[in-house]
């Protein structure tokens, strides 16, 4: 645990020592609020639903920007060699870095509270929807971060890591949609639907907090972090 915290602190510090964290926060909040309030007053409905349905698409573009440097940077600067010869487990380094990016996500979501409160003040609103929305957004965000961290571990190039993360996250978002499922039927369709981020997210943000969806996201996070650890270990394959 001590080692995870040390890595976590180091990563968090480097997010805030560089402009990344600030730019990330500002860009996210501006885009999210702009798109949400742009139609909010026109619709005349007191609901956060449009806000939470925007979130996956904003995440898709900006979370990879947060994760692209996690490992690529270490590989490029040689930090990998030092980091992985410290007396820590590879998985501790993976987890520490993942947690740091999640902390930024957490701060970001916290800063959207004024948006949510504005809506709450304007009318009667379903509390479950807000709580479910935030839980869903956090879990979806963490999954994209875990995916992005994994992508970052396979390349030295941050841009490549960014684009791969966006592409793969996009695939995970759309494979559960009706229009992608249309050509498939039966088992394949239900597998695709199950694997996709979006159906699980939509259930949660609809206010239905089901254990299955939470477990799905946690499973996805651990799956990507596991792959990330395996990539680090691959340097040690004899051959």
């Amino acid at each position: 645990m001590h080692n995870i915290i040390a890595i976590f602190k180091k990563e968090l510090r480097s997010y805030f020592n560089s402009p990344i964290a600030y730019i990330f926060l500002v860009v996210f909040l501006v885009i999210a609020n702009w798109l949400f309030f742009g139609s909010f007053f026109l619709n005349g409905q007191v609901t956060l639903r449009p806000f939470f349905s925007l979130i996956p698409w904003i995440f898709l573009i900006i979370l990879p920007a947060l994760t692209m440097r996690l490992w690529s940077d270490e590989k490029k600067g040689g930090g990998m060699e030092l980091l992985l010869t410290l007396p820590i487990r590879d998985s501790e380094a993976v987890f520490g870095k993942f947690k740091a990016a999640c902390a930024i996500l957490c701060i970001t979501l916290f800063l959207t509270a004024p948006t949510a409160l504005t809506v709450v003040f304007l009318g009667n609103i379903d509390g479950g929807e807000i709580i479910g929305g935030y839980i869903g957004a956090y879990l979806l965000g963490c999954s994209i971060i875990a995916l992005g961290a994994f992508m970052s571990s396979i390349t030295k190039n941050q841009i490549v890591a960014f684009l791969l993360s966006v592409a793969l996250s996009f695939i995970f978002l759309i494979i559960g949609q009706d229009y992608t499922l249309a050509p498939f039927s039966g088992l394949i369709a239900s597998i695709l639907n199950f694997v996709s981020f979006l159906p699980h997210y939509q259930t949660l943000s609809g206010g239905l907090i089901s254990g299955g969806d939470v477990v799905y996201f946690i499973g996805m996070i651990f799956f990507f972090l596991f792959l990330n650890t395996k990539v680090l270990e691959s340097r040690q394959y004899r051959g």
Binding site: H2, N3, A6, K9, K10, R13, S14, N17, S18, E74, G77, G78, G79, M80, E81, L82, L83, L84, T85, L86, P87, I88, R89, R235, Q236, Y237, R238, G239
Partner: protein
């Protein structure tokens, strides 16, 4: 101590190391010498547990690196060749980060390490970083970067120190400071440094291993290596007289292999290199002959084969 047996490493088709075996004792500073691409860094990466060998075993204080990575890593301090630092951190933040991990891991098994604050103060002093502790690493000169990275490697007072080209990029004053630090540490600890600078080996190492194209081509103390390549002793002698006469005088000596004119100081002062057959000391004979023919000797010395020469011969 480090013991390495039959170590081989392949990167795809490239054979980086071929059946390398050696050991480094406690309290010894081993110089690992070789041209670029000889396999020095690869060997160090294997010892520190960064990459795995294709074959062979590496034991650090009796523990196989592959079976006990954490136990081994906590005993080692490592300065990689690439000098990895985080430019957006200050020197202090960086040392706190590495120190907190290294010291915690070490203190769990060994009471010999100081708490973080004291360790920090010690390495900052030892590596001369007091003036820059609060500066971002990105702003530091190459010399300070190198020393910051060295500080990181010794912060937990490790039993084993692996330094990959520790003095590259330093100015002569800094080089001698870093060498002092290494010598200081080398008194009690096991130190392995890689370098292609020969003076460095002579200055700090007890023993040298020369590696070329993945194989060990020579090992021993610096003096032993110099002796090894002294196939035949040669003597440089400077005399006054006619050039041809001196040449003949030297050639007439018994057991002479070769006499070669080396330099001309003035119209009647000439330098010659005389090689005897075998390892015979011919200085006295030259002296007696010169006296008997009334040809003054102005200078005479045994030509030592330098380590540099050894290195060049072995790694050609």
């Amino acid at each position: 101590m480090i013991s390495i047996e039959h170590l081989s490493k392949k990167y795809g088709l490239l054979q980086a190391l071929k059946d390398v075996s050696f050991s480094v004792q406690d309290g010894e500073v081993l110089g690992f010498l070789g041209p670029n691409g000889a396999g020095k860094s690869t060997t160090m990466k294997i010892i520190t547990g960064y990459t795995a060998p294709t074959e062979g075993s590496v034991k650090v204080n009796g523990l196989e690196v592959w079976e006990h990575p954490l136990e081994v890593k906590r005993q080692i301090g490592y300065l990689p060749e690439s000098v990895p630092l985080y430019d957006d951190m200050t020197v202090l933040e960086y040392l706190q980060f590495i120190g907190s991990i290294r010291i915690k891991a070490r203190s769990a098994f060994n009471s010999g390490s100081l708490p973080l604050a004291e360790s920090l103060a010690r390495v900052v002093k030892l590596c001369g970083l007091a003036n820059v502790v609060r500066r971002p690493i990105g702003e530091l000169s190459k010399g300070y970067r190198q020393r910051t990275c060295l500080a990181q490697a010794i912060i937990h007072n490790p039993d084993i120190l692996i330094l990959d080209e520790p003095t590259s990029g330093l100015d002569p004053n800094q080089i001698s400071e870093v060498r002092d630090v290494i010598r200081e540490i080398g008194r009690e600890k096991t130190v392995m440094i890689s370098t292609h600078i020969l003076q460095e080996v002579q200055a700090v190492c007890d023993r040298v291993i020369i590696i070329n194209e993945g194989r060990i081509v020579a090992h021993g103390t610096t003096a032993e290596l110099e002796r090894q390549s002294e196939s035949a002793q040669s003597v440089y002698v400077k005399m006054r007289g006619l050039k041809e006469k001196i040449h003949q005088l030297l050639l007439d000596l018994p057991d002479i292999h070769e006499v070669r004119h080396r330099d001309t100081e003035s119209a009647d002062i000439f330098g010659f290199e005389v090689t005897a057959t075998g390892s015979l000391d011919i200085r006295e004979r030259i002296f007696r002959r010169a006296v008997s023919l009334d040809t003054p000797i102005l200078e005479m010395r045994v030509e030592r084969v330098s380590l540099e020469e050894v290195f060049r011969q072995l790694t050609k």
